[in-house]
Amino acid sequence: MLPVVLVVLGLVLGGVALAAHRITLVSAASDAARLQARGDSAEERLAVLGPGVEAEWREEGSLLCVDLNATPGGGLLAALSVRGTGCAARNDLGGVP
């Protein structure tokens, strides 16, 4: 019985951790895209996320987008990846860092 309970608890806590991490990434991706697309550096904003978060920048026409990928934790969660995407209109000063 106990293993089943532990699995249930693990799934619930893992789900909460994933959801929280996704909120963080979505919010950071929006901010980073806006900053970088308008000529400011997104480096400081992304540094807050700590290590383990990979940023992939791409240009889509007149837009600059960033995908933030992260692994939210160890153990079984290490097999999962969470992603947040943000896009903003790029001016003459903005571009892929």
Partner: protein, 264 residues
């Protein structure tokens, strides 16, 4: 730990965990749609101000779409440069909506705008007064404040900015110390009651029109800042020489400006 207690713990974890995860998903959607609304409003405002070459609302729609959301509403205020957006996203728990607005920190001219009368004409200076009445035809010298902002008297299209090509006038030949170099002016064509009328501000500060974001070919509104008073041309002191004419010239105007602007 007995089996009922263990089961109760598991049940409690599910009862608490599922709503928390659902709420987190909803919160994530709110963050996503809020970020998209902000980015869409910024994009539209940048396009409206000319920083980006695109249709403001079409660009805002592209930005919203790239974030997996939908631009539901997009409004522009051309006078202030403000853009307002409403962005939505559909979630399993309903539609999430976010609103955002963006505008230049200070619109061109610092937000000042000449008051526009019922006939659509605006007194073309921040101070409603003249320092000299009719001279050289129907030309008048406008009183100005320290900032020296000069406004478009009526909606129109800017047809000339910079030096007017005129040489040194007789007054400066007689008094050479009044000569400050070529006269800089801004001339606007107004289509009023089926007739083209030309207004001009003269002796303006060189480069002031461009610094206000106005150049030849631009459409301007009544009361929009188009120049700052200066001392270019032939002048004994800082002032602005205003003309209204049926001809695209700034010398010897043939229209009485008070008939359009009202009395000072």
């Amino acid at each position: 730990m007995s089996a009922p207690v263990v089961l109760a713990c598991a049940f409690a974890a599910v009862i608490v965990g599922v709503p928390v995860i659902s709420a987190s998903a909803h919160l994530e959607a709110r963050h996503r749609v809020a970020g998209a609304a902000d980015a869409a409003a910024l994009a539209a405002a940048d396009a409206l101000s000319g920083l980006l070459e695109a249709d403001p609302c079409a660009l805002a729609a592209d930005v919203a779409s790239a974030a997996g959301t939908v631009l539901r509403d997009c409004e522009m205020e051309t006078r202030t440069g403000e853009a307002r957006t409403v962005v939505t996203v559909l979630t399993p728990f309903g539609t999430v909506e976010a609103r955002a607005r963006a505008a230049p920190l200070l619109p061109p001219g610092g937000g000042l705008h000449g008051a526009v009368g019922e006939n659509g004409w605006a007194w073309p200076s921040a101070v409603r007064g003249v320092t000299q009445g009719f001279h050289d035809g129907f030309a008048i010298d406008l009183a100005v404040d320290d900032a020296g902002l000069l406004f478009a008297p009526y909606a129109g299209v800017v047809v000339q900015v910079g030096t007017d090509g005129g040489g040194m006038p007789a007054a400066c030949i007689a008094s050479p110390s009044w000569w400050r170099g070529p006269n800089h002016s801004v001339m606007i064509r107004h289509d009023f009651e089926g007739v083209s009328i030309y207004s001009s501000h003269n002796h303006i500060s060189p480069g002031s029109t461009g610094s206000l974001g106005v150049s030849v070919g631009d459409r301007v509104s009544a009361g929009q800042p188009v120049a700052r008073a200066g001392m270019s041309g032939c002048t004994s002191g800082a002032h602005t020489h205003f003309t209204l004419s049926t001809r695209p010239e700034n010398a010897f105007p043939d229209l009485d400006p008070f008939e359009y602007l009202g009395p000072p």
